[in-house]
Amino acid sequence: MKHAISPPRYYRNSIKWIQWIGKTGKVIGITTQQVQQSNSTSHLPLQIALVEFEQAQLLLPIALGGPQITIGTKVICTLRKLSSTTENAVIEYGLVCRSC
């Protein structure tokens, strides 16, 4: 099992979130990963999407449980838990996208 994120690394990530959260973009590539990294928040397949934002493209996980997303869907960048651990560790939040 992967170790939890280190606090300094979490901190460096979190100060960059605001550059993207709330921004909208278009999905240009999408796939469903049946096999995840070991610290995935869910046993369910995770979708990742290549999203074209105004400033740049980002490869983002898709938030679980929302309406279906396909190529061309308009999405918004937001925040979710990215990994899960039983350790008494800092929770790893990170950028994802969902339909909007």
Binding site: G29, Q33, Q34, Q36, S40, I48, Q57, L58, L59, G94
Partner: protein, 370 residues
């Protein structure tokens, strides 16, 4: 500039090798290659070992020192890492040392031991070959699935064409005693295998393997007439999201151009190519980016009954196996062995790191084509 001869080579069996440790594999390959070269261990002046993740798979860093300690004279030794291109970059590093006239005869090893840990741990480790900040939750099947999708969308490449790559390579591997798999498969088998990351099925993906390979390079002939005629090494963005195109590897194109120029040949002269088919789509990219066929026509090209060059005759990564650090060296070792048997005179080895961030191309020539 000195000519670099491949004077000896060896490949271990690739597969789930429960009774072989990383050290066993390294020593098997190393000393077999030296024997193949009809040299002694003490003739090796330096060692270059390509390995991606021994420090994560088993906590063993400082591989250069470990390998050196297997030799009575402790030759200078270093580990080179570039994810799945570690092996070919170890080759390049060795070649540069020879061309700098620092050494005359050196040993290159590629090795990886992957099956001691759970598959989920392997997935985590291999994810390190991606951009861990920009591709945080992505797995390698996921990244190559996006590439496959883009190619299928733009060029109408089909799942059957992807599957055909795996079918061909499994068939080729039947003649390779070192290959991990000796099993014919059909296009239906591939398409009906479980989806890993759509559109890539399980049988579109190369396996997790243990294995090692080694090559002895020298500026002296040592009865060999197989040389490294050309090399190329190029990079591209680590993160897919930063790429200019998702339907080609610019790194392969640039590396191939460098290698063809140095070897004074064109793509049409290649008789056999060992290419980096970590996923079936990667071989389709390769035949296009190496210039064997037009961009977008790779799937069709590979489907032909007879192509101008033999494609992944060893079985490729898909059927021969893909111990990550070993692959780049194994490609060259395999070509060397087959060329010694007189099978070809001009061959190519193509090794990729990550999702196309690193590409290395080697051209081998033999005999009167030197």
């Amino acid at each position: 500039m000195s000519t670099i001869y491949i004077v000896g080579s060896a490949v271990t069996k690739f597969g789930e090798l429960w009774d072989k440790s990383l050290r066993d594999l390294i020593q098997d390959a190393a000393f077999s290659a030296i024997k193949d070269a009809t040299l002694e261990p003490k003739d090796i002046e330096a060692i270059f070992i390509g390995n991606m993740a021994a420090n994560q798979f088993e906590g063993q860093s400082h591989l250069g020192a470990l390998v050196s300690s297997f030799f009575p004279h402790f030759p200078p030794s270093m580990r080179i890492e570039s994810a799945c291109a570690s092996g070919s970059l170890a080759m390049l590093t060795a070649e540069n040392a020879l061309l700098a006239q620092r050494y005359n005869t050196v040993l290159v090893i590629g090795a990886e031991k992957m099956t001691d840990v759970d598959a989920s741990v392997t997935t985590d480790i291999l994810a390190g070959a991606a951009d861990v900040e920009k591709e945080q939750r992505s797995t390698f099947p996921g990244l190559y699935a996006l590439l496959a999708q883009a190619h299928m969308q733009k060029f109408k490449t089909t799942s059957e064409q992807l599957a055909n790559v795996a079918v061909k390579n499994h068939h080729n591997a039947l003649a390779n005693p070192h290959a991990q798999f000796h099993k014919e498969i059909t296009v239906q088998d591939v398409i009906q295998s479980p989806m890993v990351a759509e559109p890539l099925h399980l049988l579109d993906c190369s396996p997790i393997s243990d294995g090692a390979s080694a090559v002895v390079l020298s500026t002296k002939k040592h009865h060999s007439n197989i040389i490294i005629a050309g090399t190329g090494h190029a990079q591209d963005t680590l993160a897919l999201a930063d790429r200019k195109s998702l339907t080609e590897f610019a790194s392969t194109q640039k590396a191939a151009t460098q290698a063809y120029a140095q070897a004074n040949i064109s793509a049409a002269d290649i008789e056999a190519a060992e290419m980096h088919d970590c996923f079936t789509i990667a071989e389709i990219f390769a035949v296009e980016d190496l210039g064997f066929c037009k961009k977008g026509k790779g799937g069709q090209y590979i489907q032909q009954t007879q192509t101008r060059q033999e494609l992944n005759p060893s079985g490729g990564l898909k059927a021969c196996g893909h111990p990550v650090g070993a692959t780049g060296v194994k490609q060259i070792a395999y070509l060397h062995q087959q060329m010694k048997l007189g099978r070809w005179n001009v061959t190519l080895a193509h090794n990729i790191g990550g999702s196309g961030a690193t590409a290395v191309v080697h051209i081998l020539k033999q005999g009167k084509n030197l």
